[in-house]
Amino acid sequence: MIRLQSVSKAYDEKAAVADITLDIPAGRTTALIGPSGCGKSTLFGLMTGLLTPDAGSVTFDGELITPATLPAVRRRIGYVIQDGGLFPHLTALANVTLMARHIGWPRDKISRRVDELVAITRLTPSLLSRYPAELSGGQRQRVSLMRALMLDAVVLLLDEPLGALDPMVRAELQDELADIFQRLNKTVVLVTHDINEAAFFARDIVLLRDGQIVQRGSIDDLLQRPAEPFVMQFVRAQRDRLHVTERA
């Protein structure tokens, strides 16, 4: 679905991503994971077109991402970031419908779509009239997900979507999100620093370090066939919660 071909990106001559080739398969969830500074956020920026590669190319559904194709590509991308990235001056509903209104969807089409999304994300409908600051962290993420799904994006890009939540809410949302991804059959790219979360959502985990892919595979591959000692170290450092993952 998304293909990065030999891309490199450097900031102040320090490589953030060095000659990476990565295929994101359609209809599945892929997790990008690694310690801070490993390049996962840069990869994410390249996929959303926020960053342009110094070398290499990024294609979306077979189409090269260029300034000309970017607007059309972005309507097929849903984007959720840590703490939602909701616009504080708009109500939850206005946040969700912003883009649909901008491209001139008729009102009844908008309200039908909002009803569907309320059902999908199980958001209490009365919360839609609230401002982001009046919602809890979990509620904000549901609204953000609704906004990402509004135009029926084919790809969902999630950057630490649950990073700012407390463990209880986080666990609950993890279950619901996994359920939603499965039902909607979307291509999902999830950036996280948490190996448990990566393993929970994705059978396909891409472990990065210093702007390069260290290993790609399932959690079992990482545990049983580590490509190098760093993989063991990284997984072990977060192992205390692994039983949660193994249950799933």
């Binding site: 959303t48 077109g49 926020l50 607007p71 972005r74 309507r75 991308i77 984007y79 970031i81 840590q82 703490d83 990235g85 909701l86 616009f87 504080p88 001056h89 708009l90 109500t91 912003l98 883009m99 901008h102 401002y131 982001p132 600051a133 009046e134 919602l135 809890s136 962290g137 906004r147 890009l157």
Partner: protein, 499 residues
């Protein structure tokens, strides 16, 4: 909205420009910002009206430079001046004889009446008690007391025939020389805050404050015979005005001038009344002193002040918000824009007003332009800071959502920056209300007019008549913007986020 503001500005500019030019055939009299000049201006104005000429008095416009430029530029038609000032300041190098001055003035298309009859020259004074204690009678006596503090009017310190000439001629050793407003200097010397001040020999306060006028034993100060300067084109379009001025030639002696100054300054008689009383007793001419009620005057000043503030602020907003946006969107231009408005802001407001005179003359228009320039910085800076302060995550969300740049600006960035932009406009408005009081110095009226007159007449009630409404207006503006913020800023931006 923006188009409406520009339309309004265009209309107002036209209205103001025509107001400054004045009606056909009318005569505009100017006067400097001290009582004697105002009285002389008023005498000319009332005699002009008596001669059937529509005459307006733009009183207390400022110092010599302002009046001279306004006369040459045609914003006023005549004003009272002194021969010494013409010879020393306006046309340096001209011999101080009447004929030589008249010939030199004619080169500038300016005419001069014969002297009015009194010599208002510079003099130095100190309290009688202090002078007696140090036995000082002449300016030369000052040499023996180098520790004496001098408090001189700024004009006296700057002009060649003032302090520089005095120091050289008398070899005065004093170094403690402070610049004071002439009218405040009397109170300073009476209160013992300074020892020696400059005076004019017809000042009303000399007797009131028990001052000793020191003898100019080296005859430094030249003659300062009062005359009227007028534009020679008056001989075409209002010859009767020149005839009216002629009636004042040789008809005011020093004691009469001191009496008029004292009536205005010490007894608080309005200059219009002082002038009409003099014309009645000396020239047997009955004129209308057109006294205005207190409420009427306050209302007039309020209207003038609101005009200054309203138009200049609207123009500042209309220009500064787009400039702030430009500075944010185009970073390289931003550095230049922010630096430029900062530099304008560092110009002292008084200087900025005076810079306007050669460009736009005197009156409401230059004051509005100066206030407009002054209002730019707070609004540009806050617009830029408000936009630049939007969290990157929010901006990126808007980009990835697919909003094109203009829609992002209108739907996301400007609304989120709105509280900051409004705060900048509020700052500009409050500063504007205060600074607009200085507009009176170049004839724009407003609350500064009673303040200026009050300082000149040492009349605290008059000062308060301008200062209190200006302060109240500033508070109202502040409160008004608080209200506007509640209406305009979405509730979502006023809330603190929950965890």
């Amino acid at each position: 909205m923006t188009r409406n503001i520009f339309g309004l500005l265009a209309l107002l500019t036209i209205a103001l420009t025509s107001a400054v030019r004045g009606a056909e055939g009318s005569v505009r009299v100017g006067s400097k910002a001290f009582t004697e000049s105002v009285i002389l201006g008023e005498l000319a104005t009332q005699l002009g009206r008596d001669a059937g000429i529509a005459t307006v008095h733009r009183s207390q416009l400022g110092g010599t430079r302002v009046l001279w430029e306004a006369l040459k530029g045609g914003q006023i038609d005549l004003y009272p001046e002194y021969t010494g000032t013409i010879a020393q300041e306006l046309l340096p190098g001209t011999p101080a004889t009447e004929d030589a001055l008249r010939a030199a003035l004619a080169q500038h298309d300016i005419g001069m009446t014969h002297p009015l009859g009194f010599n208002d020259t510079y003099a130095l004074g100190m309290t009688d008690a202090a002078a007696a204690k140090l036995s000082i009678r002449t300016i030369s006596d000052l040499r023996k007391h180098p520790a004496l503090r001098f408090g001189f009017s700024n004009e006296f310190i700057d002009r060649k025939d003032g302090w520089p000439a005095l120091r050289t001629t008398y070899a005065l050793p004093q170094t403690d020389v402070a610049g004071l407003d002439h009218d405040l200097a009397y109170r300073a010397v009476a209160a013992g805050k300074t020892d020696v001040i400059d005076l004019y020999s017809t000042d009303a306060e000399i007797a009131f404050y028990h001052l000793r006028v020191l003898d100019d034993d080296k005859r430094l100060f030249p003659e300062y015979q009062a005359v009227y300067l007028y534009r020679l084109d008056l001989t075409q379009h209002a010859p009767a005005m020149i005839a009216a001025l002629r009636r004042l030639e040789n008809s005011i002696d020093a004691s009469q001038m001191i009496a008029m100054n004292a009536a205005a300054k010490l007894q608080g008689v309005p200059e219009t009344r002082v002038a009409s009383d003099f014309l009645l007793s000396a020239l047997q001419t009955r004129t209308n002193a057109d006294d205005v009620t207190l409420a009427g005057r306050l209302w007039l000043r309020t209207r003038e002040h609101l005009l200054l503030v309203g138009v200049s602020l609207a123009a500042s907003i209309a220009v500064a918000v787009p400039l702030g946006i430009l500075a944010f969107v185009w970073r390289r231009a931003g550095t230049v824009i922010l630096a430029a408005v900062s530099v304008i802001y560092t110009i002292p407001s008084l200087a900025l007003l005076v810079f306007m005179i050669p460009l736009l003359g005197i009156g409401t228009l230059p004051a509005i332009v100066a206030l407009f320039l002054y209002g730019l910085l707070p609004i540009v800076r806050n617009t830029h800071a408000g936009l630049a302060g939007i969290p990157p995550a929010l901006r990126e969300s808007a980009i990835v959502l697919g909003l094109p740049p203009v829609a992002r600006l209108m739907r996301i960035e400007l609304p989120v920056a709105l509280p900051m932009i409004l705060a900048g406009i509020k700052t500009a408005a409050v500063i504007n209300v205060g600074t607009a009081t200085l507009g009176a110095l170049i004839g724009a009226g407003g609350y500064g007019q009673p303040i200026l007159t009050g300082i000149r007449l040492a009349d605290n009630r008059l000062i308060l008549l301008g200062a209190v409404p200006a302060a109240v207006l500033a508070l109202l503006v502040q409160a008004g913007f608080g209200l506007l913020e509640r209406v305009l800023v979405p509730r979502g931006l006023r809330l603190k986020a929950r965890g």
